[in-house]
């Protein structure tokens, strides 16, 4: 039990450091055990330092930096222990265009192993999809679905 936790923690921590600096194009981040001598109960700390900045508490990160840091953690968990599929509901809402681009690149890489269903308003993210569904609603409050080709998705935005 403890060794499985520690092995997983070490593997995720290694991925997290690497994926964080890929998504932020620099900077560094670490996962740290709050109490390494007590593997059964220890908590996990996150330290994130965007490029050019001093290391600060998570609370000082901006909205977009928080979303990107959390996404780096999610992606590192998926790298170490993939689930068959993963649903992401507007995780890219706070990201600026450059960060959406880096998010998309990493998503496309992970999609070799894990299936993704991504709900998004971001054109950049839609462009990475093989299949696109458009959801709409009639005046009777019933959801309807249409399968779109990528060029049709542009129009729905």
């Amino acid at each position: 039990m403890e060794t499985a936790f520690k092995e997983t923690f070490d593997a995720v921590a290694k991925e997290f450091a690497e994926i964080f600096s890929r998504l932020f194009d620099g900077g560094e981040a670490q996962l740290a055990l709050t109490d390494p001598d007590d593997l059964l109960n220890t908590g996990v700390d996150i330290v994130a330092r965007p490029p050019g900045k001093r290391s600060q508490r998570l609370a000082l990160l901006s909205g977009g930096e928080r979303a990107l840091t959390a996404t780096a953690l999610l992606f590192s968990l998926l790298e170490v222990s993939a689930t068959p599929f993963c649903v992401l509901d507007e995780v890219d809402a706070m990201l600026d265009e450059a960060n959406v681009g880096r998010f998309r690149t990493k998503l496309e890489e992970l999609a070799q192993e894990t299936q993704f269903i991504v709900i998004t308003h971001n054109r950049g993210t839609v462009e990475s999809a093989r299949t696109v569904y458009g959801v709409s609603m009639g005046s009777d409050a019933v959801s309807q679905v249409v399968s779109l080709r990528i060029d049709e998705a542009e129009a729905v935005g």
């Binding site: 908590g43 968990l77 689930t83 068959p84 507007e90 299936q115 709900i119 959801v135």
Partner: protein, 165 residues
Amino acid sequence: MYLKRITLQGYKSFAEKTEFEFAEGITAIIGPNGTGKSNIADGIRWALGERSMTTLRAKSSADMIFVGGDGRSRAGMAQVSLTFDNTDASLPIDFSEVTISRRAYRSGENEYLINGSQILLRDIEELLAGSSLSERTYTVIGQGLVDAALSLRPDERRALFEEAA
């Protein structure tokens, strides 16, 4: 193993039988506000045995069932089915395709089915526990919840790593 299809009927805003076919790789779902995109994510969590109504933005099981709209009466039942490709046998069951379904009736009763035959929630949980689909918080990341892991206390975050172990 991957998710081949979702079918929703009478579930939240999906009054009519609606199917999504998925390939491997990335599928995007887009559309205006309030049209039912997040309801699909809720439907997936629900079919996998989600017990917490708050996570599903609901108060009771009846909130899962289509309440009606202009010129459209309410549904009596909600059903969501998830069909998995199991050719790699990651689900410990001898089918190349496995469909997990959940139904809710206005009476508050819930039914669970595997490939059409009724089973208990316990059986579903056991089946999933053997695969990497078991109760993973990071299988579905809800809207506005992407940074939830950052707001957890250090001891609460530990559970993420235990699930992955």
